[in-house]
Symmetry: C2
DNA sequence: TTTAAATTATACTGGATTAGTATACTTATG
DNA sequence: CATAAGTATACTAATCCAGTATAATTTAAA
């Protein structure tokens, strides 16, 4: 049970942008070098963050990326969901037809895993980038 | 971020054995049918649970499997770890050399993810099979 | 002592996912 | 209009996942 490498890179890259302040743009090359992230991979990951309005992208010469929101309004969960989709924990939580006992109501394991998922998302929500900057 | 299907099957199969009571053996065929789990896959998964002493296996005619411990002493975490290994969250938590900033001490993301991992394992520990049976 | 019914050991397979790379294109600035 | 940035799309090698196959071993009972 693991987050993807893309999420990890995204955490570090967004934290880097947060350090620069909202709206201050930096190009991918620089972030890639400073944070030690493969550049093309970072570009691909950044596109997802831009599509979900966590960061803004600027094309053309002197283009780059900048944090789009107040760091207090961006959490680790926002980044994970943007990069790798929702936290699933178990396929029966997402595809009811995959639940071998169907009844979400009657399956005790299902209940427990639902609780686990909520615990994970709550914890990831606790970590805003404002908090990460402040530490 | 997901648990494997094998873990899910294992949860349901162990709960089934817990229902039978400690030491009461049932054969894989039966469990496979009742819980709707591919038999060969279940056999493979059960071997891991037997190796970690969560269940006992009995070979030969009238063989089968039985819970090896008090259900109060078996948790979802025990089963997950037996079946798919430790909860990792992030590769930098496991392989320090993969941490692009090295310093676990100085990396804020690292700290946060460590906290996330602990939260997950604590929650999975909360669910003993005694508790799951009681609900 | 043979037979049947069970687990064990090992290995294979197809498909999906992951991590990363490549190529061609578009956009903005000076 | 040249240059330096991001965008779109697609490719690839490696790994993991879910499930299957085959042969061997063990045990109980007839």
């Amino acid at each position: 049970m693991k987050l993807s490498q893309a999420s990890d890179y995204a955490f570090r890259a967004v934290l880097y942008l947060a350090k620069q302040g909202v709206g201050n743009r930096v190009d991918a090359q620089t972030i890639s070098e400073v944070e030690n992230i493969p550049k093309r991979f970072l570009l691909k990951t950044f596109r997802k963050l831009a599509q979900t309005d966590i960061i803004e992208s600027y094309r053309g010469k002197y283009g780059g990326y900048a944090l789009a929101k107040d760091p207090a309004d961006v959490t680790l969960l926002d980044v994970v969901e943007a990069v790798e989709g929702p936290i699933e924990v178990n396929r029966c939580l997402v595809e009811p037809e995959a639940c071998n006992k169907q009844g979400a109501d009657t399956c005790r394991i299902h209940h427990a895993l639902y609780d686990v998922r909520e615990t994970i998302t709550d914890k990831l929500k606790e970590y805003t980038f404002a908090k990460l900057l402040a530490e």
